[in-house]
């Protein structure tokens, strides 16, 4: 099966030593968890995981042209 392209966006200190936004290729249906671990994060570091602007569980399978946004636990108000 052809790989899928997923846009990954990183925020706050997740950007340090990595990137802001990049397209990566994965096998179809790859779970958010595998992408996160593949980037060298620990799952416990994740504050907010969004796919296409909506909160997603770690086992959410990704599709072609999805956007995965990863935030540490941060907040304001």
């Amino acid at each position: 099966m052809a790989p899928i392209t997923v846009t990954i966006k990183l925020f706050a200190h997740f950007r340090n030593g990595r990137f802001k936004e990049a397209d990566h290729q994965f096998p179809p249906g790859v779970a958010c968890r595998e992408v996160i671990l593949g980037l060298g994060f620990r799952l416990g570091e994740m504050g907010i995981v969004m796919v296409n602007g909506q909160h997603a569980p770690l086992d959410h399978p990704l599709s072609e042209r999805d956007t995965l946004a990863l935030f540490p636990l941060v907040g304001g108000g």
Partner: protein, 576 residues
């Protein structure tokens, strides 16, 4: 012994009163709202002689408890027509508490055209005529008072906006750096201006200080509480590093960043104004990414922002201000927004109300979208000088909409809706509708649970669970606002089990009380209900607990979300 200071501006007399028994267990918002509800006729004109302006430090203010230095100000709001409480950091709360001042109540109104200043000290409060500082901005007032009365003097002041009694005018409080924090919302600066008080100076020399009922128990509880603040990733790491402005990118990503006067949920220029960019800019220019609004703050969410030359430009540069002039007015130049922030501090005008008013003004064609330089000019030359246009914008978003025939006017109870679109973050919409304060994100900050995954997760795009979420947070917030604690202590309180019991243990050790968690929840409920009762008596109805019509009809991208709560569903908020 704690006392109440009462100032009558009609006959220019002052009094020191004993604290009535029923007020002894109250502080902060619980006390200001109780006093306003008891002493202010709800139907009175907010800028007339029958309104009262009340200041009260929180229950724990003046103690060594971390983040306990918040001062509440209350009155009938000239902006909303309902009750108002707005709280602030700075040095005044701790000075009042150490002086044993439970509350300062300012009532009446002078008959003539004269202006006055109040001087608070261990001996009480005096009224003096004031001439020299009239018309000056807040920074000049603070500077003059520091050179006249000493560096340590506390200052509560109004700028030109308050002198003009504009309904977006705020009350400024000196912070530990000699800069400004604001009782921002609801036009309380206009109420102070109507009493013709330019400033209140505070001298805490010889203050008796706080007597703890159980110092050992207090110390233990305080240690646990501070540890919870430091351990939680939001209050311990996220807020200190990026400030509240880290929210720009989060709300953009979630489609809840109101853009172009609430027509879109995402802003193309988000990276130029976001917290990450701001952090890097501050560091590169030699500013301070961390800064506390009051002594004893361990979160340090504030910052000092320098200009391109490395000179001080502003501090306390918050997400809501940056959103309001940024995404909402399409301004992408962070330096322009910082300049505007500084001018708004100096004029003494609410940076949320004013930013949203500019969005409506841009929609009306008064100035071009995205023109930050023109915003700064209008602030200085129109609002600052009190021209007709300046007074319209300085009276808030609702006033601009009514004057120019705009229908997309994001207000509830005539108070501007801040930084989170209620169509795509539905819990906060319930808070906007139902808070007795008018549209106020801090009254029940559902963003924590809708977006930030703090205190669980409630899907922001669905209606399920939003009423309960907003109700529980509004009850908890009314209680926290009474303790003098920074609202950001709610982040650890929602997630770390030891945090809230430690807060209650500190109150008990301070007063020798035996409060339980249920008592604190009960206090929050009582405060909300008495505020609601004041509003109903003032003539507000459930029809005021509604979002503007356009939220029901205009879909907001990217989720094509719409506000779809029925009136009955909203009104069920009050079933408790």
């Amino acid at each position: 012994m704690d006392k109440i200071l009462r100032v009558n501006m009609t006959d220019l007399t002052t009094a020191i009163e004993e604290v009535p028994a029923e007020w002894a267990g109250l502080g902060g918002r619980a006390l200001t709202s109780t006093i306003v509800a008891k002493e202010v006729p709800p139907a009175c004109h907010a800028l007339g002689p029958n309104n009262k302006l009340v200041f009260a430090p929180g229950l724990l203010s003046g103690t060594a408890a971390s983040n306990s230095g918040r001062l509440s100000a209350g009155a009938k709001s000239p902006l909303t027509g309902g009750i108002k409480e707005s709280n602030v950091g700075g040095t005044a709360a701790q000075m009042f508490a150490r002086l044993g001042i439970k509350a300062l109540i300012v009532e009446g109104m002078p008959k003539g055209e004269g202006w006055y200043a109040l001087k608070v000290s261990k001996d009480g409060v005096t009224i003096e005529e004031e001439r020299g500082l009239l018309g000056l901005g807040n920074f000049a007032v603070i500077e003059a008072l520091q050179s006249l009365l000493g560096k340590k003097t506390g200052v509560i002041a109004i700028g030109p906006a308050g002198e003009m009694r504009l309904t977006a005018a705020n009350i400024s409080v000196k912070d530990p750096s000699g800069k400004i924090r604001s009782h921002g919302r609801g036009g309380l600066g206009a109420v102070m201006g109507s009493k013709r008080i330019k400033f209140i100076a505070i001298d805490d020399e010889g203050a008796p200080g706080i007597q703890l009922a159980d110092p050992e128990a207090f110390k233990n509880a305080s240690r646990i509480f501070t540890k919870a603040l430091m351990d939680h990733p939001v209050s311990g790491q996220g807020l200190p590093t990026y400030g509240t402005n880290v929210l720009v990118n989060i709300l953009h990503e979630a489609g809840g960043l109101p853009t172009r006067n609430f027509t879109h949920g995402q802003f193309d220029g988000h990276e130029q104004i976001c917290g990450e960019t701001m952090h890097d800019t501050i560091v590169a220019r030699g500013g301070k990414p961390r800064h506390g609004c009051h002594a004893g703050c361990v979160i340090q969410c504030s910052q000092v922002y320098h200009d391109k030359e490395g000179q001080y430009l502003t501090s306390g540069f918050e997400y809501e201000t940056i959103w309001g002039l940024g995404a909402n007015c399409l301004i992408t130049e962070l330096d322009d927004i910082a300049q505007a922030d500084s001018v708004m501090d100096d004029l003494g005008i609410d940076s949320i109300e004013t930013a949203v008013a500019f969005g409506v003004a841009m929609e009306a064609g008064i100035l071009p979208w995205g023109d930050g330089k023109e915003v700064v000019r209008i602030l200085r030359e129109e609002i600052g000088k009190g021209t007709a246009l300046g007074r319209v914008i300085g009276s808030g978003a609702g006033a601009v909409g009514r004057t120019y025939g705009v229908t997309r006017v994001p207000v509830v109870k005539n108070q501007a809706i801040p930084a989170y679109d209620p169509r795509s973050v539905k819990g906060i919409g319930i808070t906007y509708c139902t808070s007795p304060m008018g549209a106020d994100h801090t009254a029940g900050y559902t963003i924590a649970t809708n977006i930030l995954n703090v205190g669980g997760q409630v899907d922001p795009l669905k209606k399920d669970g939003q009423i309960e979420l907003s109700r529980n947070l509004q009850i908890a917030t009314a209680a926290i606002d009474s303790t003098g604690m920074c609202i950001f202590s709610a982040f650890p309180a929602l997630d770390i089990p030891e945090c809230l019991p430690a807060l209650i243990d500190m109150i008990n050790a301070r007063f020798g009380a035996k409060l339980t968690g249920d008592d604190v929840t009960g206090l929050g409920k009582t405060v909300l209900k008495l505020e609601r009762a004041f509003n109903l008596a003032a003539g507000l109805t459930s029809a005021d607990d509604r979002l503007p019509e356009f939220f029901n009809s205009d879909l907001v991208a990217p989720h094509q979300a719409v506000w779809d709560f029925t009136n009955e569903e909203i009104d069920a908020f009050w079933d408790f």
